[in-house]
Symmetry: C2
Subunit: 380 residues, 2 copies
């Protein structure tokens, strides 16, 4: 455990980058990943006069529709990665599961933000939880499990319900199994076991919230107003801003996000998902997950604030000053999931409503097709 949890733990790596020159308008930002996050990053970059080159293995990736240059290749295609790097002035990513070798190759050729070492922590739930614990940040109880016997042992000591999660490659509820009672243990292990897992105590939360924090190359960090989130089947359905939480919980949530960003010596946008838990002594916060990227719960910032999470991320990786966003009112963001959007609906014409569609070719159950942001009440 470091003596001061606010002390950057990777100061050696990024000391040089802090002093690196910012890129100029007209420069090219490389984006690894071609989903809607990459798409909205590229659109934010375009507003600022920056160009983007998207690298994705998917030929019909929706981010390709908004950029002039593209590489469609595997993340293990070293020649393609080298060509991509040579075309970019700085590189970033839209998803946290960038393979370590891909990140290392790119980082050896061009500045890569956020620093790939962040991925090492956030790609593995156990390392992430240990990292949080070392910073003195509360989480749900957790224990690594590698065998069925270990799973049963940990259940004995932790109790039920609990959640079995694979340590790696989980998002939107993928790689998770809820264990309510002893009958659920064997099927859960059958489904997820064989890979290193983590058992987490089930948290009965009052609310789910998230903090989107942006941190520049100069170490200055700014967070958006705390967001309240509602999930269904582990997929974000709705965000509401500001979160309906007491002022001291709001302040604590921001402090936690800043502490994490500082500890990583982070450059870019980072999302921290938290549970608000109410017990006999009042309310407390548990960190659920860190996403080292722009985040679905920050989509409201495009229409609900004077600068979006995407713009903040681009400014940070470009070495430009961050914006101080002003929120436009009480904001609601709803995801459009798994359906062909109805563009003739009355909702489109509702005052203060903004529709975003991601240009995805086919609607599939659970697939995020777009989102709708509504300014519920104008700022006072």
């Amino acid at each position: 455990m470091p003596g001061d949890p606010n002390r950057p733990i990777q100061s050696n790596i990024s000391r040089n980058k802090l002093h690196m020159r910012h890129i100029k308008p007209g420069a090219t930002i490389g984006i690894l990943g071609g989903g809607q996050l990459g798409r909205m990053l590229a659109m934010a970059a375009a507003r600022l006069g920056l160009q983007c080159h998207v690298f994705t293995p998917e030929p019909d990736a929706c981010a390709l529709q908004v950029v002039p240059r593209r590489t469609v290749a595997s993340f293990s295609d070293k020649a393609a990665l080298r060509r991509f790097a040579s075309d970019c002035d700085v590189i970033t990513y839209e998803f946290e599961n960038v393979p370590a070798e891909t990140a290392a190759l790119l980082a050896s050729r061009k500045p890569l933000f956020p620093d790939p070492r962040v991925l090492k922590t956030t790609q593995d739930r156990l390392i992430e939880k240990n990292f949080l614990q070392a910073l003195g940040i509360a989480t749900a109880p957790f224990a690594p499990v590698e065998t069925a016997a270990e799973l049963n042992q940990e259940i004995d000591s932790m109790g039920l319900p609990a959640i079995l999660k694979t340590r790696r490659f989980g998002y939107d509820g993928k790689g998770q199994a809820l264990i309510r009672n002893r009958k659920d243990v064997a099927p859960a292990w059958q489904r997820l076991g064989g890979r290193p897992c983590l058992l987490e105590g089930f948290v009965k939360f009052e609310r789910e919230i998230s903090v989107i924090v942006a941190r520049g190359r100069d170490g200055k960090a700014i967070c958006f107003d705390v967001t309240e989130n509602k999930h269904r089947h582990h997929i974000l359905q709705m965000s509401l801003v500001p979160a309906r939480i007491p002022q001291q919980i709001d302040a604590k949530a921001r402090r936690i996000a800043f502490r994490i960003a500082n500890a990583f010596d982070y450059v870019g946008v980072l999302a921290v998902e938290m549970f608000v838990v109410r017990n006999a002594r009042g309310r407390t916060l548990l960190v659920n997950e860190i996403a080292p990227r722009v985040h679905n719960s920050g989509h409201w910032t495009i229409d609900g604030a004077s600068a979006s999470q995407f713009e903040q991320h681009i400014r940070a990786v470009a070495g430009w000053p961050l914006s101080k966003p002003i929120r436009h009112g009480t904001i609601r963001m709803e995801n459009l999931i798994g359906l062909e959007p109805d563009t003739s609906s009355k909702r489109l014409a509702a005052p203060g409503t903004a529709l975003h569609l991601y240009g995805k070719v086919a609607a599939r159950p659970g697939r995020k097709m777009g989102h709708v942001t509504t300014i519920v009440r104008v700022a006072r």
Copy 2:
């Protein structure tokens, strides 16, 4: 003169289009012209899940940086125009000087909005002025002049100062000469004569304002809040919203914009520039110019309202319902003209400030490189 100035004057042409089906998400909008207006139209289309194909003669046109498909060819290249049309579901334009033959060829193959007949009116200052007069809308005094003798005659009757303008191809002060006294007459005629011209009486205005109105295929029209504009050397420097005008002048300005849009049976976004003139009997409005397109004085809508002029235009040409925009406060928009933008400036970090750079390769005197929008006061 039509009996009812609100009656569409081109009802025959667009009757069919009114009932045409709206395009679907994923469809392609063709944009003629590759400047910043086309760029921002394409970015607005992308938010809505629509793709754009830009047609421009300029290989380094800045709109090409944000679209996946492009045609770089002359507007008289019929084969290129046909290929372009076949790739698009609907076509629009970002500038009013689209050649009539280009528009006719495209309109014969795909829906083209706004209707090219609008261009016939707005490409010629004399036809435009006559059109406004026929609608009962006041303008500065004007008279066509084709010879030096006619020019002198008209000056005799109109008085000085006056402005000599070419009838066609004028924007940002191009094709204009101010005639303050008799000494200015010969140089003005030498510079502009030989082409059909218009002499306009010089208007001493209190303010310049503009109204940006959007009109859908169903004939529903919505305008943004009236904008106050400041020009320098005929180029827009600054817009302020709301305009500092009395309520009845504000209402009158909107009525004028609606009347013009209805008379054209217009589909898309239209800008009407007006002078607020103060005389002994109070304030009155004179229409200076109609721009049948998105307009620089509407750039504030991107960050200052819940839907931008670009989105309204795209919704209109797509056959989608228009948005009812909410303004986020008192808004100031400043153009960045002729200079390399300074991205390290303090202005970038100012609260509520949004920077837009157009990705233009070279800064030249008078060239619009970007704009900055500031939310001066938050809406109450």
